[in-house]
Subunit: 141 residues, 2 copies
DNA sequence: ATTAGTGCAAACTATTTGCAATAAG
DNA sequence: CTTATTGCAAATAGTTTGCACTAAT
């Protein structure tokens, strides 16, 4: 695996430690993967990309850990595709655009928008905005 | 079924006609249901609520038609729950809040926000914003 | 030592599909 | 009469779970 930012991996390990969550070999492999691959991946994607190098890896373990990482803020769960969860390895708050033609997901930086603490009396912890339409690339083609 | 707004049903029938889509008995039952029940329903919810009155109704037909209605703008598909699609029978553009404790979904009116036509060169057709947190009711309890 | 994680297979759930019978235009 | 829809059952796909074994603290 190339381009592993060791500092980013350490940061994520620290989060596990803080929560007294054991750092297993498999978890380290997954942390290295997400630290070196910015993008949008399903559990199956990650499993396919890693199973050649780690043939005994189980997809159940990928699911378990990605779900754990999401709860710790190490990855972001996107519910933008109709049939599966997508994990976003880029965790800074940002929005998403899904192309209705090619299905590609684009990161959208958030400008001038502040998350309200309350809406209609409900306490807001976080928010996700999904834009849908036709992407630049598909329009040009 | 009570509180069916006949005008609302007619409006939806008109949309089907405009698209040359046959108005079947089952479709009419579903259109009447969504016209008289403002809220957030899964396909299973709708199936359960209607099957007593229409025992031969099939859940596959509910799925087919809700999906059709969504593509026509007659209902709105929400991907706010982790494992299933929710149909919102309220179609005016609005956002949603999901309580992380009780799971209830609240409609949130959109104020002072205009949908951009373009973002990063991509053409935006529509957008969905989901807020997550603890609802008023759960905080008070 | 103790507690938690892994990998496998089986289970589960939401959704889709194939198809013969039927209804709509 | 022609085309599309219905209802049923079976299939599919994503995700979760039970469990024996193993690894981490």
């Amino acid at each position: 695996m190339q381009n592993v930012s060791e500092a980013q991996v350490q940061e994520k390990i620290k989060i596990l430690k803080e929560h007294h969550i054991p750092l297993t070999t498999t978890r380290l492999v997954l942390l290295r993967f997400i630290s070196s691959h910015r993008g949008h991946y399903s559990a199956e994607d990650i499993y396919q990309l890693l199973k050649e190098e780690y043939p005994s890896l189980s997809i159940a373990t990928v699911y378990n850990n990605m779900s754990l990482f999401a709860s710790l803020g190490i990855v972001q769960e996107l519910r933008i595709e109709r049939d599966k969860v997508i994990y976003d390895t880029y965790t800074k708050a940002h929005d998403h655009f899904l192309c209705l033609k090619c299905g590609k997901i684009y990161d959208i930086e958030i400008k001038n928008r502040k998350l309200p603490e309350q809406i209609d009396g409900h306490s807001v912890h976080y928010a996700h905005t999904y834009y849908f339409g036709i992407c630049k690339e598909c329009k040009e083609a």
